[in-house]
Symmetry: C2
Subunit: 306 residues, 2 copies
């Protein structure tokens, strides 16, 4: 039985913690949010939405963890990753596997500072979840996970992990090339999410305007161009169709960056999404003015609101 | 005595109408706004702010005007200019002079369709004013006007007009090259105003963030580059210093585009400001992605809010 830590017990960390625990895995949540930790320690983790449930699950601050980890699932907000890695270094040994499911780009470079590449797995998930209040998480809808070990030597473990996730109904798939899926999600985040956050609008509102389409098209073309430089194939038309169809399916939805910035007055992950594109583009002398301006605008809005 | 029409009786048209009438000129206001016309016709034009006053001044719809005009001062919102010109064509004769004091770029081309170039004067004003309610305008602070006749043959009339304006305390100056002043105002509007409208913020809030500075710097550089192509010299450092010093003087102010979009839920003049830069830049194959994205974003916000 693996000793699993989930580093970052936000809505998604709680979803995974809940589903993995229900499937009889040994899971500990790690987080820094006092009220959330106290609530779960005293009353358990409450689940609402598609089902109502309550489970006991250990949760503590990263520095309080004292068991060696077999697997750590990283689920922090992007900007919290460096400090989380520092704070969990003491539970990692030379065999500890680390799966990154964060939004955005640039995380592998950070994780490599602490973990040998053969122990790292990169993944992407389209599951969603929402914190209702400290200790209470709303789960609704279906999702999935794609993941891949960074080095070929990690593939066996990666496939074992697929089984563990699927026993927990997390709908996982081993992906021989996970990077296009990671970039695709970054592209969706950097078009719909950032635009909705900036506009204080939901997805339908953005897509009910031809100017919303124009913006999304321009942003997508920058993502596609920079991805190609990194040898990741994204198809512009396919991306465009994807976000347009998503706008029809989940139009009333306020994406996570809107939740962060507008609803919860928290810093966004913009530097790891549009900002990451700008940074990568600079290496190749590619111009990405739309991503650059979006990054500046979201930061300006953070400075005004926070 | 000149027969003067002011075409567009918004806050600025009312300021000019008020001050010119007080200096014993014959002035008629033209506008389409029913409540405003009815209020002024029944109760006069009320002035508040630096002074309290009330005057009788004729106001009517443009199509109702029936006297030939000696001078028409154009003071509509930029997008209302084409229909206003159509609606006042019948009061123009071959000697009618037309002074354009609109915000933005591209108006001369439109006016030329109706008025011979030797009768056109272009100007820019930094006076401000605010409609408090139909028929009531708040005047505060000082301002000025720069103007120039489009053709040298119009210069004598232009200088007569300076005297008329100065007798009305409108602080006018004949400018041997008015275009840099016009562009300078467009540049201020296209940096501070559009950013404040987009962010729903006042000038101080935008300038309290380094990201506000970055945006303004990028936008200014596009204005300067496109102005140069049109043989108008704008100095980037001077423009930058100007908006920064303005931010310190009038930081609590919400600029006019914010008033239009956020406070009054009206369409903005963005197509004649940042949008005009994009259009002119295309003639010269110059890239203006920041102005382009700002234009799309403001239009998207219009579509969402209106």
């Amino acid at each position: 039985m693996l000793n699993i830590y989930i580093a970052g017990a936000g809505s998604m960390g709680c979803r995974f913690g809940y589903q993995l625990t229900k499937a009889n895995n040994t899971v500990t949540l790690l987080d820094e949010w006092e009220e959330h930790i106290t609530a779960i320690q005293s009353k358990g983790l409450s689940i609402t939405g598609d089902q109502e449930d309550n489970i006991d699950i250990p949760i503590m601050k990263p520095e309080e963890a004292d068991q060696s980890a077999d697997l750590i699932i990283l689920f922090t907000k992007a900007m919290q990753l460096p400090s989380m890695l520092q704070n969990i270094e003491h539970i990692m040994n030379e065999d500890t596997k680390v799966l990154c499911l964060l939004n955005g780009l640039g995380h592998l470079e950070e994780i490599q500072k602490y973990v040998p590449r053969e122990n790292i797995l990169m993944g992407v998930t389209i599951w969603t979840a929402q914190i209702e209040s400290p200790g209470k998480v709303k789960l609704s809808g279906q999702g999935g996970i794609n993941l891949q070990s960074v080095e070929k030597t990690g593939e066996t473990f990666g496939k074992d992990l697929i089984n563990i996730f699927n026993e927990a109904n997390l709908n996982a798939e081993y992906d021989q090339d996970v990077w296009p899926s990671i970039w695709r999600k970054v592209c969706v985040n950097g078009t719909m999410n950032s635009t909705c956050a900036l506009m204080d609008a939901n997805i339908s509102e953005v897509f009910s305007s031809s100017h919303g389409y124009n913006l999304v098209e321009k942003l997508i073309s920058e993502f596609v161009q920079v991805a190609a430089k990194e040898n990741v194939h994204l198809d512009a038309d396919e991306m465009y169709d994807y976000v347009v169809s998503a706008s029809k399916k989940v139009g009333e939805h306020y994406p996570s960056m809107h939740q962060d910035l507008i609803q919860n007055k928290r810093l966004t992950e913009i530097d790891y999404i549009n900002g990451a594109i700008v940074k990568i583009a600079q290496k190749y002398d590619v111009e990405t003015p739309y991503c650059e301006m979006m990054t500046e605008l979201i930061h300006l809005k953070e400075d005004i609101l926070l």
